[in-house]
Symmetry: C2
Subunit: 363 residues, 2 copies
């Protein structure tokens, strides 16, 4: 299978040794077969959710390390309580143990999509292009990404802003099953996304967006510590807001630090809608809470002395504790976990030190 | 020619009696032949620029009124000095004399574009759809316009924001010759826009954009008085910033009044690049001034008692006078013209009165 497609893949793909692919899963990773031409030369970090005694099968020929709950508990000790269990939010453990500059994370129900010409889309390559070219958060360019071949800044775009800002996040989209919430799934059970929008654009400074973790890449050095997926799943009153939480925190911190967030290309093929009834149960509280969270994030101000992602994130945790605890005691717990997450991050990623040792089940 | 295409055009097109098409020109309007199936049932307002003794030929069968400089001087008297001469900025006179709720304005070097399937694009119909559906200025929807068929709000989009905001402006794009400034034209003389991006999106609140007047529609009742294209061309130190100026003023006022601005579809086919050397001469000062104008518009705050477009615009003229006059005496003249424009607008559009009489050369 790899034969035909791989002809279009350069023999040494972009950022081969600088990027890890993080996959949270509870099942055998057969979906990787389809991604083989695009992923095989990269290193994978698999975060096994659920029962740690279960064996996850990974197709032959992939270079990976795998962490189950026992590994997470062993590596983080008491700090492991900041990593969610029985929820794909556990993926952020992979961001923490990676030693690479870039992360791509993808769900195991996501397949290779085709562009309108029928060509298979190398999603990872497009994400890398997005991350390696600047963003334009301070002024909107009507022809979308001005750094793409065949595009530029249009008349009226201030010249002083054309250098752009470093890109921290590349948010990719989904053909077939759109990323809808439970109410929308219930109302539109048959809706499929067939619209291929050939654009990448920067989410302007000051604007929040719903960041989906299904097909997401980021610069770990620039923004990694903000990519905490929160407390979801087992023992928590909420699910399916893990990536949203990470997105809101990340966007606010990117805006403060002058970093860019892009959305648009690449598409993946999202194969299967999750159960809307199960989703409704998970999302239920989030639907209410979100109405207060958005105004909170829209008005967050970070002080000038927050010059690193870690400092921003600790400051954000304080504001969460102060301003959101009144919604539900959950937010006090979450604020604690945000602090624990940063402590654990710094422990595994001592600044200036040589790459730390991550004792996973490396294979 | 009309026969074939018109089969896909409904016999009574959308908003037939509620929309005027405004065309600034210095030449015969042969380009209308190509637009016949889409425009013929609408009323045209032609603003003839340059020598008023010249006769502009309009193809048979179109319903139009035409205003030349003599008409403008006669109708506005001394206030006519707010309408530019020898510059397509004169088009805004057409917005003022229209009595309709909606305006579509298009340049006479813009032809019907084709979508990727080869179908001719009814640009006006798409603009109308954009204007008649809400905007989403307060939160970014990653699947673009959620009101389009086959799309919706994605997971994580706050439910309280899904009603959207009324749409005031629909900014369309251009295939073939992109709308570049003179320096970019000089550097990339052969660049053509071939990317058809199948999306409409709302420019978020607080974000400015470069509004091009080539292919633009708006709700005149909601935002008309802000669509002043400034002082450009004959006797002025600047050109080619008419639509930009209107766009910055309009966006700031839309943000203040809770109105939405969309960009994206529809495309027109822009046939001919203007001369980059001539353009450089016109833009020269704008390139410098713009660097101060953008921070000005980014920080404009309109007081709460500015509850109408007119009040907002008069307030904006005061701030232009106060804060931009230091750049160049031109901005004092412009601030005066902004006030004159609103006076003229109100004179021709007495609120609550029956439609006024516009004494053009109606045919």
């Amino acid at each position: 299978m790899a034969g035909k497609e791989s002809s279009s893949v350069p023999s040494t793909p972009l950022l081969k040794d600088e990027l890890d692919i993080v996959i949270p899963t509870i099942r055998n990773l057969d979906f990787l077969e389809m991604w083989r031409p695009f992923f095989q030369q990269y290193h994978l970090i698999i975060v096994q959710d659920g029962d740690p005694s279960k064996t996850i099968k990974v197709p032959e020929g992939f270079d990976y390390e795998l962490y189950n709950r026992n590994d997470i508990n062993r590596i983080l000790g008491p700090k492991a309580n900041c990593i969610s269990f029985k929820d794909s939010a556990c993926r952020c453990f992979g961001y923490m143990v990676s030693k690479k500059k870039y992360i791509y994370t993808i769900d195991d129900d996501c397949f290779v999509a085709k562009d309108p010409s029928g060509k298979e889309i190398n999603a990872l390559e497009q994400h890398i292009k997005n991350l390696l070219s600047p963003s334009t958060p301070y002024f909107f360019n009507t022809l979308y990404d001005p750094y793409q071949v065949g595009a530029d800044f249009v008349r009226g775009y201030p010249f002083s802003l054309r250098e752009g800002a470093p890109t921290a996040v590349s948010h990719g989209l989904w053909l077939n099953i759109p990323d809808y919430d439970a109410p929308t799934q219930l109302v539109k059970p048959r809706e499929r996304n067939t619209r291929y929008v050939d654009a990448v654009l920067t989410i302007p400074k000051g604007t929040l967006f719903p960041m989906c973790g299904m097909n997401l890449a980021f610069n770990r050095e620039l923004i990694g510590p903000a990519m905490y997926f929160g407390l979801m799943g087992d023992g928590q009153p909420i699910g399916r807001y893990d990536d949203m939480w990470a997105g809101w925190c990340t966007k606010v911190i990117c805006d403060h630090l002058g970093l860019g967030v892009k959305t648009g290309l690449p598409y993946i093929w999202h194969s299967k809608a999750s159960n809307p009834f199960v989703n409704l149960k998970k999302e239920y509280k989030g639907i209410f809470w979100q109405e207060e969270l958005i105004p909170f994030f829209q008005s967050v101000a970070l002080p000038k002395d927050c010059t690193s992602v870690q400092k921003c994130y600790i400051e954000l945790s304080k504001q969460v504790r102060e301003k959101l605890a009144k919604i539900d005691p959950y937010f006090t717990k979450l604020a604690d976990a945000m602090v624990t997450w940063i402590e654990a991050w710094d422990e595994l990623n001592p600044s200036g030190a040589a790459p730390g040792v991550a004792n996973g089940t490396a294979k």
